[in-house]
Symmetry: C2
Subunit: 290 residues, 2 copies
Amino acid sequence: MRIARTVAELREVLHGDPDVGLVPTMGALHEGHLSLIRRARDAHRVVVVSIFVNPTQFGDTADLDAYPRDEARDLELTRAAGVDVVFAPTAREMYPDGFATTVRVSGPLTASLEGAGRGSAHFDGVATVVAKLLIATAPRAAYFGQKDAQQLLVVRRMVADLRLPVDIVACPTSRDADGLARSSRNVRLSRADRGRARAVPRTLEATTAAVAQGAHDVDDLRARALEVLLAAELEPEYLAFVEPDTLEPVREVVAPTLCALAVAVGDVRLIDNTVLDPGPGFAAPARIEE
Amino acid sequence: MRIARTVAELREVLHGDPDVGLVPTMGALHEGHLSLIRRARDAHRVVVVSIFVNPTQFGDTADLDAYPRDEARDLELTRAAGVDVVFAPTAREMYPDGFATTVRVSGPLTASLEGAGRGSAHFDGVATVVAKLLIATAPRAAYFGQKDAQQLLVVRRMVADLRLPVDIVACPTSRDADGLARSSRNVRLSRADRGRARAVPRTLEATTAAVAQGAHDVDDLRARALEVLLAAELEPEYLAFVEPDTLEPVREVVAPTLCALAVAVGDVRLIDNTVLDPGPGFAAPARIEE
């Protein structure tokens, strides 16, 4: 496994290989990342994992400082996973003196949910760093987790708009046995908060079950969901029912709907989401007449 | 010569050729463009000329509507010049429904001169379209005229920041026999205004001569320059003396200095510039003691 610290080194190592799979990460690798790496390993001759805690996407300096980092362990995990190249640049390599360029996705994809909660700079940071990683690596495909559903939409929009020649592959959210979505931030949860955090996936499970049983009014679904959170003394930063491609709010779950939430558990901000599917009966209710 | 109307067609025609030279244009080709094409023709196996009147860099709809277009003539000229591929997309191909991405260069490179005069959207439009053209064409080098000196700096900054693997080549401003910088907009000058427009290069020539004769105070040089313009009843939108790489204003021409101006002649807005060089004696005046 090679370790590249600069874009020049990365390009030298890859020397234009046309079959590269990229897994962009901020390090602190866990089973979720490893599942992305396995997908890439199955599909490509060369697998690159980038490890870069991107300062520009953190609105909150405390969150940036607290973000877990353990490069030695990350390198062990990538080596064991059969990764060919780790790209681990410094912030100075990515943003040298005089750096002045931002890649911005405007509109509803970035204004709501995480964009509202973390500030518009968050997705500017994400779009810019992903564009830079894709340009530096020139992969055939890049792998992202569905856990960051909005990030995935923003990246897809940016890639389509700039016509970057790469497939963006969405991979299912990886979960612990109790349902909690895997996240590098989970290690910062106290034991008690780790227990309360289970209410986050339980909220999504309860909402999915309610939809399966025929509930489709969003006000009703939201009230039930808040009860599950409240039982764990949690209050969401947002709990959204939105169209999965545009993020426009919906009032009834009569078509596949993204249910997404952000919750602070102690001082750790968790996000999670699922797609609610009301089934074919709800897709065109007006035409059901038997 | 092949004509590609879509990015997909362009990529199919180029099929990853590693030695492409790109000359980005807005059409209405003149000798200035042809000089760029000759530079590219001498250096590359494949020469691509893009022809796209980019709507997003025009703040002024009237200017966009009035911008000269003659594709049939452009294609004759490119064919005669030995161009291999013309990329002439529609606005819809470049900016389809839902397009939401902007590449922005912030700071002094875009805030002053043309950025102040034409609004910040101008360089957003330039940086975004050039990024898209470079990503679509993947050239080894791209050729730009020094006439648009600020645009050249913005493009260089964007390319460096995104690490696009392309050389940006600056080519000297091409001029008519009377000194007027060649521009597609010149055809819109009335006969009388064409005569007055000669004051624009004469202003730069007079300033260059004054510097050669030892003048270096910018207030003094500006006053002399304004006299030349005033004699033709012209008043500049800006007349700037700035550091050539940062565009920071200077008060004395003691090192190479970009002198740039924008002037409306009738309803045609012209720009021009030159680099004033005070010579080695001025580069470090404090050390001259003989």
